[in-house]
Amino acid sequence: MSFWFWHGLRNGIQSTRYPHAPETAPGVTPGRPVDTQFSSAEEAAEAAAVCPTGAIHAESARAVVDLRKCIWCQRCRFGCPRPLHWETSHTWAAGSAARGAASPLGSPFGHSLHVMVVDAGDCGACLNEVKQLNNPLYNIHRLGIFFTPTPRAADVLLVVGPVSENMKGPLLKTYEAMPEPKRVLAAGTCAITGGVFGRSFMSHGGVPSVLPVDLEIPGDPPPPLAILDALLLTAGRAKHSTLSNPETAPSPDHGPRLVKLP
């Protein structure tokens, strides 16, 4: 049995250096579609037409992406006449469109953030990506972020899934059981707008329709680093460089907004 000890030692530290250094390993993120300039309005409209969820719309010759609706079907990436530009970032969490910019929890939580995850009808992908954060490759404990089994000890409610009717009650109960101050994060496109499940008799079409959401993490699923980034934002510890780059930042009206940093 002692070999596990040596096994652990020999493998050394495998954790990413993110957020202290960028993480560039291939495949850590699927990337995301970004607003793309076409040569004509028709071309842009053609590009927007392939999107099954209406996440792309044309503003004159520019195809503008609303990540909150994007389900990463890649139809605007492969096998279409007018592919959009895709970039390989992972920092796209943003304040909720409904509530505007949410304030971070503040310094007492900076290095001790307890996260309660609720699966509210998730397909398993977002949940698995959240689970990957416990993976040694991400190892969020090193950042003082912990997943907690009880809402009583939680500061952040991380909801995945479009909120199925059967899970609405438990979700609300979990939220009520959490002490103040608390923040609600909606991870994944389903949790923001309902994604492919939309609004129906069984799906509430996203967390915003049942709870006040502070931070939205688009993605289907959002990769672990996007979720990590959102958690750091909530704790008031993230410094955004990518999103503040005017070249890649989405336009203020349709794209995600920046969380105001203190």
Binding site: T150, K173, A177, P179, E180
Partner: protein
Amino acid sequence: MLLTLVPLILVFVLCGAGALLGFVLPERRTPALTALCGSLAAAMALLAGANVLYGSPFSGQLWTIEPLGTLAVSLDRLSAFFLIVAAVVILASSIFSASYLKRYAGHHSLRAFNAGYLLLIAAIVLILIADDVLSFLLAWEAMSILCYLLVNFEHLRDGSSQAAYLMLATGEAGFIAVEFVFVFLAIKAGSLEFGQLKTALAGLGPAARWGIFLATFFGFSTKTGLVPLNSWLPRAHPAAPANVSAILSGTILNLGFYGFIRVNFDLVPTGTTGTGVVVLVVGTVSALVGILYATAEGDLKALLAHSSIENMGVIAIGVGAALIFAASQLPVLAGMAFIAAFYHMLNHSLYKSLLFLGAGVVDERTGTRDLDKLGGLIRLMPYTAGLFLIGALAISAVPPFNGFVSEWLTFEMLLRSVELPSTSLRLLFALCGAGLALTAALAVTCFVKAFAMGFLGVSRSEAASCASKAHKTEIAPMALLAVLCLLLGLLPTYVIPVLDQSLSPRIDPHTVQALVPPFFAPAAASTELPPAFLADFHNLGAQLGQRILPGRGLVLLHRGGAENPVIFAMSPSYAFAALVLLLFLAWLVFARLARTRKLARNELWAGGIPKLLPEMVYTATGFSNPVRVVFDAVFRPAIIESKRETVAVHFRTAILRRRQDIYLVDRLFFLPLAALLRWIAGQFARMHHGRLNAYVTYAVGFLLFVLLLGLYS
């Protein structure tokens, strides 16, 4: 003298008059009559006892029956102690009767109960003041029969008569043994009076003393409920009405010890370590068996009954240790062990009757004693719950309540075994100490279960969810007992001198000095304490309260020799004061914080389900099941019913496994005994084959045998 005699006479007058009056007054007045006469009689007994304890012993001769001898009564300090304990318990349970008895109105004869109850009080007092063989035995027998009648009061209920009969039978077996001893002693001494017995028997040999010890230990243990003579106890208590249970547990059990101590300390002191070892071992086994079954038990009253066995075991440990210390020429330690045992007896009487009364209220208001079906009562009967909690804390030996002091003293006594000369004895003490430690731990589990499953959480049945508040006359006696539990836990240094007083001159006069050093005595007068020692304790604040409070001090301490001045020390009083202070400070801090922070109250978190249903919470059985599993070898449950029902082959509809424990004592002792008797009877039955000449042969053979025996002697 008069102050003792008059109240004693009044006790009998009140009891007799009350019993008769009950048949005259309308039946609806009977509960009040019982309560009034009972509590007045108890108050009188209390007065007499207190007067003897602080004044002088009382004795008097009744009359002389010619061929037999003189009948006498006396109340010395030993009986006075027992009398006071009994009086307090009787007082509480009599007041309790006022409204509790109403539940029987209409379908049970309250007049009969009234008569039985009051006569039982008289019988108890008579046992304690009897000073001769005849009246003692008569009173004892009267007490047994009255107990039988009272336990059998709800005779229509399942198993009630059986339980009462078992109690009577066990008691009678013990009584016969005791009777033989007394008759033997009386013949030896040529007198019935205890006083003369004592002087006449001083020269009895060790073998006779052993015999007397064994017979009386057996005889009185049937009342004390020590293993293996206790199988009646957990059956009789649930069957009896709550006020009778309280008296059974708080008084009658003690009487067993009274008889044992009267014979083996007063009349014919045993003086050997062997006897002590027997008591010690039996005590430890009783304590363990009692608490194990109490923890596993689901019936609240049966649980309390099993726990009585445990407590009697703890007392027996103290008594056994005292016997051993006394025989090993360690008189101070023997005195301390006695004090520990008596303290525990006193405590047990108080908290056990408190708990029985509480269980009675629960039974009365919900109609069930099954802990699996109770729960959530704290919201419906808050006072009962609070008082029951105090009883539960006290019996679990949690400071600042009284159980802690006596159990702690008992532990310390066992640890003092280092002073014993023999290694095997020390080993024995160590084993008993371990047993006692296990007992104490299980006791906490047991009473966490009793309280939590009864009063906390969700009501698990219809009956428990619509219970009503207890009546004032039910709360008041419980509150009285609870306050006494707290006081006895806070002020042991005031209690110990009293116990010492009641035990003197049977124990070493230095005991109280060794246990309660006179820190409050003016500095000049405290010559008993070395100055350096005094200075040390002064720095610790042991003299805090001097000149304000009476008494010797508030620190309990065992003073050893010069090289080991302090063997153990504690002060529940100061500790309590500190605790209160700290709690107050904590409250202050909290109150300050609460001003700025919002306090949120929220539903219980249960994983997000809409409502925690009664079938989703721990039951008492579930709570104690780990103990059952660990001690499976002791319980050896027999599976009496096991079924797995399915419909259409695969759909499970019912899984049921009903287990039944056969009580350890029955399994190991009575059932084999019964089998043996049956076997013997079977052997004899072979002689009954119906041939006349064979029977004639038996008769002639027996005649010859008797004749030969006569010739020989």
